[in-house]
């Protein structure tokens, strides 16, 4: 019983299933968008004050 908690769910052919990462992907894309926005925001401030 304890073993069931530690083993990855198995496919029909016995291999482990790939982890479902779509939520993670969406989250990191949002963070990436913040990076890009912050970078261009700072660059824009620099250009405006130059």
């Amino acid at each position: 019983m304890a073993n069931d908690l530690q083993r990855q769910p198995a496919n029909a052919d016995g291999r482990e299933a790939e982890p479902a990462l779509w939520g993670t992907f969406a989250a990191v894309l949002i963070i990436g968008a913040l990076f890009v926005a912050g970078w261009f925001g700072a660059f824009g401030l620099f250009l405006a004050r130059n």
């Binding site: 990462l21 894309l29 990436g32 970078w39 004050r49």
Partner: protein
């Protein structure tokens, strides 16, 4: 080694982001003629003898052209010499800055003038003040007990 398909996409996104940033900065810097200070132009001064070393023996703002000035500034604990500076709008000012005691900062808020004033070193920056107003000049490098009171202003009329 197996890498998840979405992880590959994310890594690619990161690398592209880095490439875009470096390219934008590179083209901008090249077009603006930005360079590192030339070693052959390095000017060292003796911080203990500033009062005998031109131009720091006479700090102040000097007109060198049509609406063009050289501002020789000595930052000290805890103030700036000269104190308040007043220039007409459109003035192009070449700042020449050093310190006789400790490291200070020299920042003009709202502009791209932001440099370190280091004993023994001369730092320079040029800026054109198109917009009239009062600009805060502040020390942004901790320099001692009076650091928070070390500020003055530059007035553009």
């Amino acid at each position: 080694m197996h890498i998840h398909r979405l992880e590959k996409i994310w890594i690619a996104f990161g690398l592209v982001m880095l490439a875009v940033f470096l390219t934008v900065l590179g083209i901008f810097a090249f077009s603006q003629g930005v360079q590192t200070p030339h070693s052959y132009a390095h000017q060292g001064v003796d911080p203990e003898k500033l009062s005998e070393t031109p131009p720091f023996d006479q700090p102040g703002v000097y007109q060198i052209g049509e609406n063009e000035y050289e501002a020789v500034i000595v930052t000290y604990a805890f103030g700036f010499n000269p104190g308040e500076i007043t220039v007409p709008a459109g003035a192009r000012i070449h700042f020449v800055v050093t310190s006789p005691d400790v490291v200070h900062g020299f920042e003009i808020a709202g502009t791209t003038v932001n440099l370190m004033s280091i004993p023994g070193e001369v730092n320079r920056v040029t800026y054109t003040f198109d917009k009239p107003g009062e600009y805060l000049i502040l020390c942004n490098e901790y320099c001692g007990i009076g650091h928070q009171a070390m500020y003055t202003k530059l007035i553009v009329i």
